[in-house]
Subunit: 312 residues, 2 copies
DNA sequence: CAGGAACCCTAGGTCTGACCTATGGTTGTG
DNA sequence: CACAACCATAGGTCAGACCTAGGGTTCCTG
């Protein structure tokens, strides 16, 4: 024997029939031919193994089983409709969650503004800015947990990833000693400086570190840090206390120095060095509207702060 | 473009995939081949017009849309399941409503007991005993509002109906005057009596009246009532007050006389007359379990009180 | 009371879509 | 670098969702 399975369509036919007391009327309402509705009802009666209507000369009359079924049928259809609506409204950013990866320097001074931008346009959404470190974010992207991200990359290339640079963020030398800031800092001076550097856990892969290593390597110097800390804020505070100097993205310096190290200032490196801020996602993926939105907003916001990307 | 429509099956596939993070695992759980689940998910994504999973090298990862959909999908499937269970338990008389037609004399003294019988066996059900008068009940049966009924019928026959007599209920003469009860009451004495008769609205079709008309007609007498009332209780009270005598089913007399007319008694007619208590339903209908249950219990209950049907 | 209207059902035919197996392309792993 | 794990595609089968056409009741009406 063939087992049919409960379907929303059957429930719709059932309710229309129940309300009209007539298969013909139900079929008219649903836009089907009468035998089609008849068949659905029969199928439903078969799957539930219960008579739902008594066929009496004119029209049909619901049985007590039908009375029992009706509220549940309505609830089920309502739930299904609710599901549709929930997804539809999420798709239109009226509700739902927008998740975006954003690591380190970018998030540090564009994060709050970016969230504000999103909420202004779509007040109903939840926003998640994900990412401790660019390595983590890359991992999340690779595993599919994140669809797209804006991160700092030392070079604009990564395996299997589409990397689109949108801005460059200058790396500046910060110090509480005005003498250290009189002229741009060369690789030579940098190699002699007492430095405090953040992102200790990620020091091997951190984008700023990689840029500095590259700079020093070209002049035959070795990087040497006096203090290692985890977060940029701590590093800046230590600079403010005159215990060391540091190199951080200019955007971070502008934002953090007045607050955490009022007496300190910054100066460029010579030659100037840059982090590249890029939009990254899996190569070959078609981006969702949410991701496109975030990329657009994040790009605009970043470009207000950092210099536009200039391919050298 | 073809529009697919949301289906429970799609939601099931979606949830399985969401939970396992894998189409293959979902297919295994659901007992399908992997491409089948894949197809369902794709259909669902198409009907909702949103991507639900990102296909990443190994497995699939739910998008935020999927996060949004999941609770609704669960609720919808739960509601559908609830519907199944509700009907199933109603079918097993664990809950739900049992509706049964039962008119006049039968209900009068078997109704409460019958309801008790049903509730004892199936504590969860609702019971509806429907019917003011047998004519109403016949109408309800014909229109399909009632599936089956136990009613008093003058003769065991009715158009388009299956009538199965189960008992006969003797009609007795009741009076507060002992002299009236000394010997069985003949048609002659009946035609001379001052009578109060109930069921005024239905006097033309009432089963007891039809039996009496038949009895008097055979001896050339005309029926004559002194008082017409609607319900048997009132008639019995009037008999108790000595204002008139009456003819009612014996079961009703046994039950009502001690309570409503303590001084009154009853005596048979000569020849004895009977209402026929019969199970009635539409000819050719297959009866539901609920109806069969009610017929069984009502028959048992009635036979404890009235004499078994004896085809003459 | 005959005819028609308003229902239902059945029969038989078309076509979508649910499902399968087989196979090819990616990705991650020993 | 081969292998395992996983998803997508292709192509074929079959159930079932739909239709039209027509037959049987019931009920109303002239």
């Amino acid at each position: 024997m063939v087992v049919t399975v409960l379907s929303l369509h059957q429930l719709r036919c059932f309710l229309a029939t129940y309300e009209h007391g007539s298969l013909t009327a139900a079929a008219a309402e649903l836009g089907y031919a009468q035998p089609s509705v008849s068949e659905q009802i029969r199928a439903l009666e078969k799957t539930l193994d219960v008579p739902l209507f008594r066929r009496v000369g004119r029209g049909v009359v619901p049985t007590t089983m039908a009375d029992e079924l009706r509220p549940h049928a309505e609830r089920t259809l309502a739930a299904a409709d609710e599901a549709r609506r929930a997804v539809a409204s999420a798709r239109n950013f009226e509700t739902g969650t927008i998740r975006f990866g954003m690591f380190g320097t970018a998030r540090l001074y564009a994060g709050a503004g970016l969230v504000a931008d999103v909420l202004e346009r779509y007040p109903g959404v939840r926003v998640e800015l994900i990412g401790q470190n660019s390595t983590d974010v890359q991992e999340d992207l690779r595993r599919g947990r994140l669809e797209a991200a804006m991160i700092a990359v030392p070079a604009a290339s990564s395996e299997g990833m589409s990397v689109t640079p949108v801005a460059k963020d200058e790396l500046v030398y910060i110090s509480a000693d005005p003498a250290h800031l009189a002229t741009p800092v060369t690789a030579h001076r940098l190699s002699l400086a007492k430095l405090v550097m953040p992102e200790t856990t990620w020091r091997a892969v951190d984008s700023t570190r990689m840029v500095l290593r590259q700079m020093l390597h070209e002049t035959g110097r070795n990087p040497m840090t006096r203090i290692e800390v985890e977060d940029v804020e701590t590093a800046v505070e230590l600079v403010g206390m005159g215990l060391a100097d540091s190199v951080i993205p200019k955007g971070a310096a502008v934002q953090l120095l007045p607050r955490l190290a009022p007496g300190a200032g910054y100066v460029s490196l010579r030659p100037r060095q840059y982090d590249s801020l890029a939009v990254v996602h899996r190569a070959g993926a078609t981006l969702s509207p949410a991701a496109r939105l975030m990329i657009e907003l994040a790009t605009a916001r970043i470009r207000q702060i950092a210099e536009p990307y200039d391919p050298r």
